[in-house]
């Protein structure tokens, strides 16, 4: 069976590699790394778009030139009437001539134009001007959008390439880099690079040609004015960038400093435990403060220089119009320049500085971004990467496993010095650690997690490096003492080792999907959709998702996590789309549980939900809503501020009662929790108020006392009371009232025992419940999944759906008894597996923080097991489970492995070593086979005679 699976796997891997190369040359490119020069990189990946956009830019230029020329004609021909000089009542409008240089034949008439009078000519030319403005605007719009899209595509490509490169980092590079710094590079530092890419070729082409057009225009009108303008422009282009060089240097320093800041903050956050434990907060604060000062200082220096340059630039730009008016006016007066020409020259010059300025900016940005790009590339040099070679062997790991003269060194010294080993696979090998890291190092060498500095590891005579990396990753599973979990469900984490790209041939079904694919192709991103089924069921040896769930649950139960997953399931939400069977039988199970509780005389342990009755074991808030809120504005205390809720409470006359309850609760809390230090665990556990809210509520109560006192000092007539209400001088302001109402929402009489609820109030709350439902329905916002006896409450956990009520905690042992009844009911209805499957949806949190250490280790182990590896290497992976359970799991694994697949376990001591076929004992940096005669350490089933195949030691 293993053979068949291997062959199938083989085919998949080859197909995968072929796909990568054939269907997506861009992706293969990504494997090749980054160009050293930013411009070469941009050109390589976007020349088509760049050329297209440049073409459009060039096409727009004649029209731009025409829009410059028109003002001259409007002034000269229409306003001053030069077109009508010889007493002509009409002039030609829209004469189209092809202007070519004289040596090419001068003008070629295309259209002779209309005859128009002076006003018509003025309006005609003006309208033409407007049309040109619109057309130029349209060109600009298209160019900007195309540029933006180009830039974003390149940014996407660059980010993806960088991420793909991080995945290829060699272990040493990974150790040298800080995660937060790499994340900053991908997120922030390439952002300006991406922004620049759209402009890289187009902006100089566009603005340069525009400036050149304007300059040419001025030169055509008057050579002297043109030369003058050119002179000023020349100064701007030559001097300003020189001044800006220092700016760049500072910018570079700033980038490095801010990257280090990010790295440092990341370090502190990662090590916050140690910071607290050592009381090093003042040092860390001072350290970050110092860095921030450095950043500030750099920024300030940058600003000073930047604005100085700006000042100079502006001065030069403003000088030229002065010269134009002065000298141009002189020419005009002398008749060497027409007024129209002067106006047009000034208009053209007005258009000159913005493109120039942008060009200079572009140049600065270019230098800046190039530096950034180079710094980014520095982090991703080929020597830091593992070779990418998807081809290679994909044979099962069978034959003899040989370790030949393997040396492993680390920065602080050698870990293994010349280890030798030869064992026929499959084998169950125990490596007994002597407390040094060498046993773990050998395990990692066998798992191909580290490549030895010297020597080699072969299987069946082939070096492990000959296997294709994806194939090896499939055939060897490695679980370490620190399981790495990602945010997601238990299931997501367990099938993480089964993820393979889904069939790439999937035909895009929707236009949206087609667009996604086209964009992925254009940017060298993966073509596979995340929505596809990524799970390789064949590798797990199952047919489909349900069978896989069964397999996962089976393993989890065997290694002792079944109970926990089941409990997760009880606390999980049932998505009817994913668990249709379970959702369909929930109501039946609800009735069955009720019947069981009644039959066992435990009915009083659960107070069921009843639309017409107050549930004493539920909070006041729950009793009001009688459902599970799904929007934040209805959850917890927010309820007190929800306008619809407040309106219903007001209308039902409940507000005063709830405010009074809140008052009593606040008073009691202030009385009994006063004197406990901030952040004391008792606050979290018991108080209605958190420690930092105490002063706030104290203030609310103090305000109330003051208002009451002032009210008593005045008359008590109805009129005064109303007036005071109008003035907002009620006992509480509306905000204070909301804060007080928030408190009793969490109140449960039997638990808190403050004696605040009576039957009248309970009835009033039940009555308000119905009104609230109506009001919320009428508001049409939804947000509450109401309790209905005959339907599943989707927002409530499975357990609550079964109970459909609240456990009576005032009865001793109620929770345990009820849980037992639930379990019995579920088992009787044969729903245990279905519940556990819901448990697989349990979220593990960031780095699996919602799980215990043992649970994380179990998930990591099952992740390795469902892959059915040829070789499973456990490097301390069982130790977080605790000794007893670790032993049980080890027995299970020893039973499963050794026939077709191999098992290598790093053992903390030799207590269980005798259970293995073969044992190595770490001794410093070398390994020895345990001395013969030591009964404990003698392998139970000696696979290879010592000295022959199991050749050990150096």
């Amino acid at each position: 069976m293993a053979g068949a699976r291997a062959a199938a796997g083989d085919a998949t891997a080859r197909q995968g590699a072929a796909d990568l190369a054939a269907s997506d040359p861009e992706a293969a490119d990504a494997a090749g790394g980054l160009d050293r020069s930013l411009f070469r990189y941009i050109w390589r990946h976007s020349k088509r778009d760049q050329i297209l956009i440049c073409g459009v830019v060039l096409a727009s230029l004649p029209l731009y030139f025409a829009s410059l020329d028109l003002p001259r004609r409007i002034v000269n021909e229409a306003i001053q009437g030069h077109a009508f000089e010889h007493g002509n009542p009409t002039a030609k409008f829209l004469v189209l001539r092809l202007q070519t240089p004289d040596w090419f034949g001068g003008e070629w008439p295309l259209f002779d134009g209309f005859d128009v009078d002076r006003f018509e000519l003025l309006f005609g030319l003006s309208s033409m001007f407007l049309a040109l403005v619109l057309i130029n605007g349209a060109f600009k719009y298209w160019i900007n959008v195309a540029k933006g899209a180009l830039g974003e595509r390149m940014l996407r490509r660059l980010r993806f390439q960088l991420f793909a490169l991080i995945l290829r980092f060699s272990p040493e590079s990974v150790r040298q880099s800080k995660a937060s710094e790499l994340a900053t590079i991908i997120r922030d530092e390439v952002e300006p690079v991406g922004g620049f890419i759209g402009d890289a070729y187009i902006l100089p082409a566009f603005l340069g040609s525009q400036a050149a057009t304007a300059m040419a225009f001025i030169l055509i009108q008057n050579v002297w004015l043109g030369l003058m303008a050119a002179g000023v422009v020349g100064v701007q282009i030559v001097v300003i960038p020189r001044l800006r060089r220092e700016l760049l240097r500072l910018g570079r320093k700033r980038q490095l400093a801010s990257r280090r800041l990010a790295g440092r903050v990341g370090e502190v956050v990662d090590g916050i435990e140690a910071v607290h434990a050592n009381g090093a907060e003042p040092w860390e604060r001072a350290e970050i403060g110092q860095r921030l000062y450095g950043l500030f200082d750099l920024r300030l220096r940058i600003y000073r220089r930047k604005f100085m340059v700006k000042f100079l630039n502006n001065l030069l730009a403003q000088m030229t119009p002065f010269l134009f008016y002065c000298i141009g006016g002189y020419f005009a007066l002398k008749g060497q320049l027409s007024i129209g020409q002067l106006v047009a020259v000034i208009a053209a010059y007005r258009d000159l500085p913005p493109p120039l300025k942008e060009l200079i900016d572009w140049d600065q940005q270019r230098l800046d971004v190039q530096v950034k790009y180079e710094q980014v590339v520095q982090q991703f040099l080929p020597e830091r990467l593992l070779a990418v070679d998807a081809s290679g062997r994909d044979e099962p790991l069978a034959g003899t496993l040989a370790v030949e003269d393997v040396w492993v060194r680390e920065a602080h010294g050698p870990l293994i010095e010349g280890a030798n080993l030869s064992l026929p696979l499959p084998v169950r090998l125990g490596i007994v650690s002597d407390g040094s890291p060498s046993a773990s190092a050998l395990a990692r060498v066998l798992a191909h997690r580290i490549v030895p500095a010297r020597g080699r590891v072969t299987v069946g005579g082939h070096d492990l490096g000959e296997w294709a990396p994806p194939a090896l990753a499939r055939r060897i599973a490695y679980a370490s003492v620190e399981p790495v979990l990602f945010p997601g469900s238990l299931r997501d984490n367990i099938v993480y080792g089964l993820l393979r790209p889904p069939d790439p041939e999937a035909v895009p079904s929707s236009p949206e999907e087609r667009r996604r694919l086209a964009e992925a192709r254009r940017t060298g991103n993966p073509l596979q959709s995340l929505g596809g089924d990524w799970i390789d069921y064949r590798q797990a040896g199952v047919a489909d998702a349900i069978a896989l769930d069964g397999l996962i649950l089976d393993w989890l139960r065997r290694i002792g996590m079944g109970e926990e997953v089941y409990r997760f399931g009880l606390l999980g939400l049932v998505d009817p789309a994913r668990h249709p069977d379970l959702a369909g039988r929930l109501i039946e199970a609800r009735a069955a549980l009720r019947a069981r509780l009644e039959a066992d005389g435990m009915a009083h342990l659960v107070e069921p939900f009843d639309k017409t009755r107050y549930n004493r074991q539920a909070t006041v808030g729950e009793n009001l809503l009688f459902g599970v809120p799904t929007t934040p504005s209805l959850i917890g205390r927010a309820l007190a501020e929800h306008p619809v809720v407040r309106r219903v409470l007001d209308r039902r006359g409940l507000t005063p009662a709830l405010v009074t309850m809140g008052e009593r609760i606040a008073e009691t809390m202030l009385e009994i929790f006063q004197g406990l230090p901030m952040g004391h665990p008792l606050f979290e556990q018991f108080s209605f108020l958190s420690a930092d809210e105490l002063p706030e509520y104290e203030a609310i109560l103090a305000r109330r006392s003051a208002t009451v006192a002032s009210a008593e000092a005045h008359h008590h007539s109805w009129l005064t009371r109303t007036r005071r209400r109008w003035l907002g001088l009620e006992r509480y302001s509306r905000a204070d009232a909301a804060r007080l109402i928030a408190l009793p929402l969490a109140y449960i009489e039997p638990r808190h025992r403050l004696g605040l609820l009576n039957d009248d109030l309970r009835e009033a709350i039940v009555a308000a419940r119905a009104a609230l439902h109506e009001a919320l329905d009428a508001a049409g916002e939804g947000g509450v999944d109401f309790y209905e006896p005959d339907s599943v409450c989707l927002a409530a956990p499975l357990r609550d759906n079964l109970l459909f009520g609240r456990i009576n905690h005032s009865s001793a042992d109620a929770a345990r008894l009820v849980t037992a009844a639930i379990t019995a009911t579920i088992a009787a209805m044969d729903l245990t597996d279905a519940v556990a499957r819901v448990g697989l949806d349990h979220q593990v949190g960031p780095s699996g923080r919602f799980l215990s250490g043992g649970q994380r280790a179990s998930v990591s182990l099952v992740r390795a097991l469902v892959r059915q590896p040829d070789l499973l290497v456990l490097d301390g992976a069982l130790s977080p489970m605790g000794e007893t359970r670790a032993r049980a799991v080890l027995d299970l694994l020893l039973d499963r492995f050794g026939r077709t697949a191999s098992l290598v376990v790093v053992l903390p001591n030799e207590r269980v070593a005798h259970l293995f076929d073969s044992v190595l004992e770490a001794k410093g940096t070398s390994f020895a086979q345990p001395a013969a005669g030591d009964a404990n350490a003698t392998p139970a089933r000696q696979v290879a005679p010592a000295g022959d195949e199991a050749h050990l030691d150096r």
């Binding site: 009691t668 009385e671 009994i672 929790f673 006063q674 004197g675 406990l676 230090p677 004391h680 665990p681 008792l682 556990q685 018991f686 039997p750 638990r751 808190h752 025992r753 403050l754 004696g755 905690h809 005032s810 009865s811 001793a812 042992d813």
Partner: protein
Amino acid sequence: MTLETEVQSLRQVPMFREIDPPRLKLLAFTSERVHFAPDQKFFDQGDAADAAYLILDGEAAVTIEGPGGATIRLALLGANALVGEMGILADQPRSATVTAVQATTALRIDRRVFLELLTQFPQIAIAVMRELAHRLEMTNQQLAQRRAV
């Protein structure tokens, strides 16, 4: 019954007599009121000591398992009796079994919370010490008497 009545009951316990009312109220508030059916066990001999119980209403029997499995009743506790407090202070397994004789209501004082209060409020700690010293004194006297006999 509300918190106030529980505070009254706590006040009857010698160990808590000297403690300020707000502190007693905190102790009551952080404890749970639980009902036991007749013959329902508070805890078993040998169980981990996780809570002390103040009987508010009803009766509970303290028993130990004698030689040969016979049950020996040591005491019958009524209202305002505190039971299991030595276990949570000494962090030792239960030395006896406590069973409700009739329907009984008790205030369950959680061990962790109780120790938290002891560390937080020296007044409570001193009151407990005083009571323990008092009991030791009594034991010493009894021992002396027995030796004399």
